[in-house]
Amino acid sequence: MSAAWDERWRRMAGNRNLQVGLAMLLALLAAGAFGPAFVRWDPIEIDFAAALQRPGAAHPFGTDELGRDVLARVLAATFVDLQVVAVCVVLPFFIGSLIGLASGYFGGWFDRALMRLVDVLLAFPHYVLVIAIVGSLGPGIANLYLAFALVVWISFARIVRAEVLVARRAEYAQAARLLGYGHARVMLRHILPNVITPSIIFMMSDVVLTILAVTSLGFLGLGIQPPTPEWGLMIAEGRTFLQDAWWISVFPGLAIVYVGITFTLLGEGLDDFLRPKG
């Protein structure tokens, strides 16, 4: 086993993107997990006396119109947003990748039917569909998950299917069939590891898009509901104060940017790391 692992360590060592991305991710998770403990303000408690204070010693990120400490709210929102994003990305990734795998491998009517479905769904902009579904079902986390699961899987399915169409003609896949291996083994053990990488990379960039989508939904009032702190919601609430109390919207915005950069770096780093050197 050692040679394969040595190789992996070596590739991690030279991979700046991956290292910085992982470091930023860890920092983010640490901030979300432990940050609130270090801030003495409660993110939900209202205190009109302290409303709209500029960033200063007592409130490093200032306070919002209800006197809530913005730093505490930004930190508290971390896990909320990350959790939602995780589900709204990972769920479609699994669903889409497996469907794409089966579709590309077996071909035939299943594949053709699937591709027609994909063609239809692609006619609609992704997030318009998501918003439409959430809008009709009503706000709330469960509906959010459902809407993403129903819509976003398509991209993953297409990516994986395209890779599978190539991989299943490769000689090593032919050799596996020739050795008498069943479809399940060939698909999952041989083809899947070789086709999943672009999908994983796409998942990273999808995280960035999903953050924006979830926070946009929050902005529109269709996502997480107040008083739960959520970055998009915070930006929305702060927009009427942009001129005078810019800190209410800007800091959550910066948090979103930070997460975007983190996952972009992770994506680039993973791309390099996961591709076996030819």
Binding site: A176, R177, L178, L179, Y181, G182, N194
Partner: protein
């Protein structure tokens, strides 16, 4: 060392003379996508007849060489013989009985295995050598314990001339020659009785080619495997084969024992093929190409003999009817109706193909 590759008592065969593996009148057709993928346009579907009435036999302990150039169907034949593709016409028989009858994929895998041309695509890039070989042993239940499997993996590596310590490497760390050795080891792991090698050395340098050919010949001796060796390189095929079948445009045009084929090539195409090989003797040079013209359009095959568009000896009769593969000398069959061509007097002017070489636009 040969314990790694299971040897088995041969299955009882009704007729001692029956070939191990044989193809009878194989036909295989592929459709070409017509139009620019527009689903609404329904033009007539076009076909390529990749194999046409191909029959070959492989006997125990024998090496059959199959030689031909692009478009001759040799790779399609390999895929049909191994079971990867099913023929549209004719059948494949194993020891006289239809191949597909009452046999599982695992059983078929233990009869016929294949080594492919491209050493870079033949191995799963994400599996170590040990994993690839171990899987074959595991799926076929060829070793009782994990330790035994590991031991057999080592033996297999040694059998193909590789050091066991390489087994934890991924394929990209190996050279082309080493990868081909692993492909061979993987094929041998299940103890096949027939090994089909589809251009196994074409992608390798000359000095490495020789290593791999020696390995294959050595394995054949030791393990008593029958070989089908497919190549476009007549020199290699000559060295390794007992019998040779020459293919052109989807058909077998000549088959004979190796020495006889090289000494007395009967089919004009075979002769051209032999003449086209660049000799390493600079004193024997010619400025005249061995074969003029181009392969006919596979979607619009010529009438009569498929070689008639380029044959120096062509006569009217050649275009009228497709010749059958007939005996010409003992163990030597030719598909040519023009006796003078077979015996090889002086040819007429080189037939140029007028407009028949063209690949039509869609």
């Amino acid at each position: 060392m040969s314990a790694a590759v299971p040897t088995r008592a041969p299955e009882a065969i009704a007729d001692r003379g029956a070939p191990m593996l044989s193809a009878h009148g194989l036909g295989k057709r592929f459709e070409i996508a017509s139009g620019a993928g527009m689903p609404l346009r329904r033009g007539p579907r076009r076909h390529v007849q990749a194999l046409r009435d191909v029959s070959i036999e492989l006997h125990r302990g024998e090496t059959l060489g199959i030689v031909g150039e692009s478009g001759c169907g040799k790779s399609t034949l390999a895929r049909c013989l191994s079971g990867l593709d099913a023929p549209d016409a004719g059948e494949i028989r194993w020891q006289g009985r239809p191949m597909a009858a009452e046999s599982s994929a695992l059983e078929r895998a233990r009869r016929v295995q294949m080594v492919f041309q491209d050493p870079y695509a033949s191995l799963n890039p994400r599996m170590t050598l040990a994993q690839a070989l171990d899987e074959a042993l595991l799926v076929h239940g060829l070793a009782a314990t994990r330790a035994e499997r590991a031991e057999r993996v080592d033996e297999l590596l040694l059998t193909v001339g590789l050091a066991p310590r390489l087994k934890h490497l991924l394929p990209h760390a190996l050279s082309g020659g080493q990868r081909q050795r692993i492909s061979i080891a993987r094929a041998l792991a299940v103890g096949p009785q027939v090994l089909i090698a589809d251009e196994p050395v074409s992608a390798l340098d000359a000095s490495i080619q020789a290593q791999i050919i020696n390995l294959l010949e050595e394995l054949r001796e030791r393990l008593q495997i029958a070989f089908v060796f497919i190549s476009h390189d007549l020199n290699v095929v000559r060295h390794i084969s007992d019998r040779i079948a020459v293919m052109y445009f989807g058909q077998v045009v000549e088959s004979a024992d190796t020495d006889a084929l090289f000494a007395q090539p009967a089919h004009p195409y075979t002769r051209a093929l032999l003449a086209a090989i660049p000799q390493t003797d600079p004193a024997r040079r010619s400025l005249v190409p061995a074969l003029a013209g181009e392969l006919p359009d596979p979607t619009a095959p010529p009438r009569g003999c498929s070689f008639s568009t380029r044959c120096p000896w062509v006569v009217e009769a050649c275009r009228a009817q497709e010749p059958a593969l007939l005996g010409h000398a003992p163990r030597h069959a030719v598909r040519c109706s023009n006796a003078e061509a077979r015996v090889g007097g002086s040819p007429g002017p080189i037939a140029t193909s007028e407009g028949e070489d063209r690949v039509p636009t869609r």
